[in-house]
């Protein structure tokens, strides 16, 4: 076995003991997969519809989620959902999430992102049906509870939806400063300012202001740049803060149950 010393003829007990000590801890485990069948749930609530700065508003106004397993390094397998319930804690109103049965899995070799519009197996429409709540009913300050059963495993979770971080622009002495309202339920903000070197790729902050620098000189700056603030709840912040954290906001599965709220305004020309 590679990495393990084999003492065939321990002529000297001292030498044998030394070799055993040296070999301790040298045993190698397989490179891939000891818990590939552990369930994972990904549901993030947000009322606002994401906008791609270059391609405009995305096509589907529905919100999607995924119930799968940890899979392998390069693919993910779907899991069945036997029971699904998301309720607004204040009044017990039920969200109109539906399960889209899928089998097999999908390759995930590219790190360009997984589009749940195409790959998800949970869906919440913009408008709810039969008296149930749609995506348009997601509101800041509300607490939402999750109850889900997959393969006999019960998964529960809860999150508080952050209030919208409404942005205000202040221009003074040729300096443009963006302020946003402190969001109830937000643990951190993700700020994007494509006109700035610090801000082009976005950054996380606990502050509620940003001074526009206009020092990003490369070609990726859009013609009409938008300043964007995303308020993230504590589940998402905990999930993203440490790459060794496997779950946040849920019990019974890996993954995350969280919520976001966002605001965006065009950055005034200099």
């Amino acid at each position: 076995v590679r990495g393990v010393l084999t003492v065939r003829r321990p002529g000297s007990p001292l030498v044998a003991a030394a070799l055993v000590v040296l070999a301790a801890g040298c045993h190698d485990v397989p490179i891939f997969g000891s818990t590939p069948h552990e369930p994972a749930v990904y549901v993030v609530l947000m009322r606002e519809i994401a906008v791609n700065e270059l391609e405009g508003t995305l096509g589907d106004s529905s919100l999607f989620g995924l119930v799968a397993n940890l899979g392998s390094a390069y693919d993910i397998q779907y899991r069945p959902v036997e029971q699904l319930s998301l309720t607004r804690r204040a009044d017990g109103a039920e969200f109109d999430w539906t399960y889209l049965p899928r089998t097999g899995g999908f390759d995930n070799l590219l790190s360009s992102g997984v589009d749940l519009v195409a790959e998800g197996n949970l869906r919440l429409p913009w408008n709810g049906t039969a008296g149930r709540l749609g995506r348009d009913s997601i509101a800041g300050g509300e607490i939402v509870d999750l109850l889900l059963e997959t393969g006999g495993r019960l998964v529960t979770g809860s999150t508080m939806i952050p209030t919208k971080p409404t942005i205000t622009i202040l221009e003074s002495g040729g300096v443009t400063t963006m302020y946003w309202a402190r969001s109830i339920g937000a643990a951190r903000y993700f700020v994007t300012a494509p006109t700035d070197r610090v801000g082009f790729f976005g950054y996380f902050t606990g502050d509620t202001s940003h001074v526009i620098k206009r020092d990003a000189t490369w070609s990726g700056v859009p013609a009409t740049p938008y300043f964007t603030v995303v308020a993230l709840d504590s589940n998402l912040v905990a999930y993203r803060a440490d790459s060794t954290v496997r779950r946040a906001g849920i019990v019974g599965a890996a993954g995350v149950f969280g919520a976001m709220a966002t605001d965006r305004v065009p950055i005034p020309p200099p």
Binding site: C26, I31, P36, A40, V44, L66, A73, V114, F204, W218
Partner: protein, 757 residues
């Protein structure tokens, strides 16, 4: 040991030294053996090693070939060794009273000069290893001889990644090796993003690896010190001119009788980019331009006598890497440089040696981020100033001591504007604006005493103060010769290190910044060497050494996982963890006077560190590594050399699956993130590399000309050490050979031409 009242302990240290001095002064008095070593032509042989058989006493000849050796009364055999000469032995009787008459010892030149192994007995450092210029030259090089590439042939040394000449000494971390040149500390001594060492081998006399024991009077890091020594002063003038596929270098040693001094000038320039362009390479497979690498280095040393016993040496060292980015109009390329200026004043007395050293070093690396960069927005700038005074005194035949004081002043700054791609780790800050300074004061002393002909011991203390805290590091070594062919050495060292880096950088990356620590890391280590060198028929030598060692680390630095945090970091904080290392180094050398030699090294290490409640393998864990270097002369002027290196593959954290991480701002878009198992519990396949070289040497008008053809990795081993793990798994499950993200050297043929006079 952390102390709050350094003055008290300084007094205690001096008291201890005085006590040891008084004790040893009472030891038996001996005699002084003097003599001169000459070659066949009657010329003085400098830097020859002179020893008495059955004793640990060693001397080195000066430029006049003279030596001075302390001996006990009675019969001895004196032994003289020098690279390129046959070993000379001569009997001597030390009378009961007075000193014996001066000796004249002649050395005969070997048929093939510079046999190229670490000659048994050549070692001059306790529990360490001396690598000489010939060894470096004999290791089949990647383009040209490189002292850093010769280090894996030393037992106890691992080089987990062959693309980075960054070594782990006795299982220590990669940032725990100090490098000095004639005692002056260096910071970035490599070229081409760490691909080759920034030292012209012709300008070096030897490299000493102080690994298991570092005298208390020498500053070091936790792993040890690679102490490089520049070429010794030329008596009649000498020089070397070397041409290889990488570049050309010239080294000149010039005596300056007008000032009773000598000058060493060594310069090197790489024309690798010109070579590739001349061979038709103008870009990559898609036709894109390269950022062509260039490098050069310069070493100047002026030494002269400023009094009957005083010698002043002034040294300047400069290494620079730059990139031709003319294929990217409007952009500027990275620049990496190191400039060192140092002065050393030495007074050689009849029984004492006073050394005063002053060093100033500036390491500077700048670059932009990515292609199309128009400004250098990333920078690592590290300035180090140090001064040291030390006094070696021989109090009697049996007792000597060294005491020294040093001051180090360091100012480091590093900045990058967003996620630093050179560190593939979530521990690297996204935005760094670091600035730090540090002033260390150290007082150190060591006493050494000889017990008859068979034993020598040394005990030392080093007291380092940083701010208001002081740290005491005791060190001890002893050696014993129970028989003429057997030597046993043992040592205990405590060491402190006041800086740290963010783990090991990837291959071919920008120099990593070094962060200054308020609270140092600590290592306690013990080691024992048993060396057996039997007497063989004339012209043959054999030495076998076994060195088990154990180390314990306290407050070792581990960079904190920063996840997706993009906060600007201005002061680098580390998690402090415990670590341990255990291992054994085995070395075998065999040489014949005709030039044939075999050098074998095997190192087994088990290095672990604390991760929460568990002990996990360290990132550089290499349980087994073995190397062999065989040199065979043939047809009088030809020489064949082959080397084989085999070692465990690098450790790897297994992937249990993958999580999805939501995009900030788009709840329908997620990004994959691997879910890792126990840290470093898996391992990639092992590494193997075989190199060969054929050389022919001949004399032309008093010069020695050597032409060499070399091949690196002649077995075409893939030697993968880094994978993109998703595609790696898919390849394996699809039945295809995985395509590594990074692998070791391909087959690289090259040539070299050396002219020495």
């Amino acid at each position: 040991m952390t102390l709050s009242r350094p003055g008290f302990f300084v007094a205690r240290l001096l008291q201890a030294l005085a006590f040891l001095g008084a004790t040893a002064a009472a030891a038996a008095q001996g005699a002084v053996v003097t003599g001169t070593v000459l070659d066949d032509a009657g010329l003085a042989v400098r830097a020859a090693r002179v020893s008495l058989s059955g004793s640990v006493t060693i001397a080195s000849t000066d430029s006049a070939g003279a030596f001075r050796l302390l001996a006990t009364r009675g019969e001895h055999t004196i032994e003289v060794r020098r690279i390129g000469f046959a070993v000379a032995r001569q009997g001597i009787v030390v009378p009961d009273a007075g000193d014996p008459a001066p000796l004249i010892i002649r050395l005969s030149v070997l048929a093939t000069a510079l046999t190229g192994v670490v000659i048994p007995g050549e070692r001059t450092v306790a529990l360490g290893q001396t690598v000489n210029r010939a060894t470096v030259r004999n290791a089949p090089p990647l383009g040209e001889a490189d002292v850093m590439r010769a280090l894996p042939f030393v037992p106890g040394v691992n080089m987990p990644n062959e693309l980075v000449p960054r070594v782990n000494l006795a299982g220590a971390a990669g940032d725990e090796t100090a490098i000095t040149l004639d005692g002056h500390p260096l910071q970035f001594p490599t070229h081409m993003y760490g691909f080759v060492g920034a030292f012209n081998v012709a300008a070096l006399e030897r490299a000493e690896l102080l690994m298991h024991h570092v005298p208390a009077t020498i500053d070091t890091r936790l792993g040890g010190t690679l102490a490089l020594h520049s070429r010794e002063a030329a008596e009649q003038g000498d020089g070397e001119f070397v041409v290889s596929v990488l570049g050309a270098s010239t080294t000149l040693g010039v005596p300056l009788p007008a000032i009773d001094g000598d000058l060493l000038v060594s310069s090197r320039y790489s024309y690798l980019a010109h070579t590739i362009k001349a061979l038709g390479g103008s870009g990559d497979a898609e036709g894109a331009e390269f950022a062509w690498p260039y490098y050069g280095d310069l070493l100047v040393r002026l030494g002269h006598r400023v009094g009957p016993r005083w010698r002043l040496e002034t040294m300047g060292y400069y290494a620079h890497d730059w990139f031709d980015v003319s294929g990217f109009p409007g952009t500027i390329g990275p620049s990496i440089s190191e400039a060192m200026a140092g002065t050393r004043l030495v007074r050689e007395g009849p029984s004492s040696r006073l050394t005063v050293r002053l060093s100033q070093d500036l390491a500077l690396a700048t670059k932009g981020q990515g292609e199309g960069t128009t400004i250098r927005d990333s920078e690592v700038k590290q300035r180090a100033t140090s001064a040291e005074v030390s006094l070696d005194t021989r109090h009697s035949a049996a007792f000597a001591s060294t005491i020294g004081i040093s001051v180090d002043d360091r100012r480091h700054a590093a900045r990058w504007p967003y996620r630093y791609s050179d560190y593939d780790t979530p521990a690297a800050p996204s935005v760094l604006k670091y600035s730090g300074s540090q002033r260390l004061l150290a007082i150190a002393g060591e006493t050494r005493w000889t017990r008859g002909e068979t034993g020598q011991s040394a005990v030392g203390l080093r007291l380092s103060t940083a701010g208001t805290s002081a740290y005491l590091a005791p060190r001890f070594r002893t050696s014993w010769r129970p028989a003429p062919s057997l030597r046993i050495e043992a040592a205990y060292d405590r060491r402190y290190q006041f800086d740290a880096q963010i783990g090991d950088p990837r291959a071919s990356v920008f120099p990593p910044p070094t962060f200054l620590l308020r609270r140092p890391r600590r290592m306690d280590g013990i080691a024992t060497t048993v060396e057996w060198a039997p007497s063989l028929p004339s012209g043959r030598s054999l030495a076998l050494s076994v060195t088990p060692f154990a180390r314990s680390y306290v407050a070792r630095t581990k960079a904190i996982d920063r996840g997706f945090d993009t906060t600007t970091v201005t002061s680098m904080e580390f998690e402090r963890i415990a670590a341990r290392g255990l291992g054994v180094g085995v070395g075998l050398t065999y040489a014949r006077s005709g030039g044939a030699s075999l050098q074998v090294a095997y190192t087994a290490t088990s290095v672990h560190e604390r991760d929460g409640d568990a002990w996990v393998r360290s990132d550089w864990s290499t349980p087994h590594s073995a190397s062999a270097l065989l040199t065979l002369p043939f047809l009088r002027t030809w020489e064949f050399t082959t080397s084989l290196q085999q070692q465990s593959g690098p450790p790897l954290t297994p992937i249990d699956g993958q999580l999805l991480v939501p995009s900030a701002g788009d709840p329908n878009t997620f990004f994959p993130l691997p879910v890792f198992g126990e840290r470093n519990s898996a391992r990639l396949p092992g590494l193997r590399r075989m190199d060969i070289a054929i050389r022919r040497s001949w004399a032309v008008r008093g010069a020695q000309v050597t032409f060499a053809l070399q091949g690196v990795n002649v077995l075409f081993d893939r030697n993968e050490f880094e994978y993109e793990l998703r595609s790696y798994q898919e390849s394996i499950e699809g039945g295809f050979p995985p395509y590594p993200k990074r692998q070791g050297f391909p087959f690289v043929p090259s040539f070299g031409l050396e002219i020495r006079w």
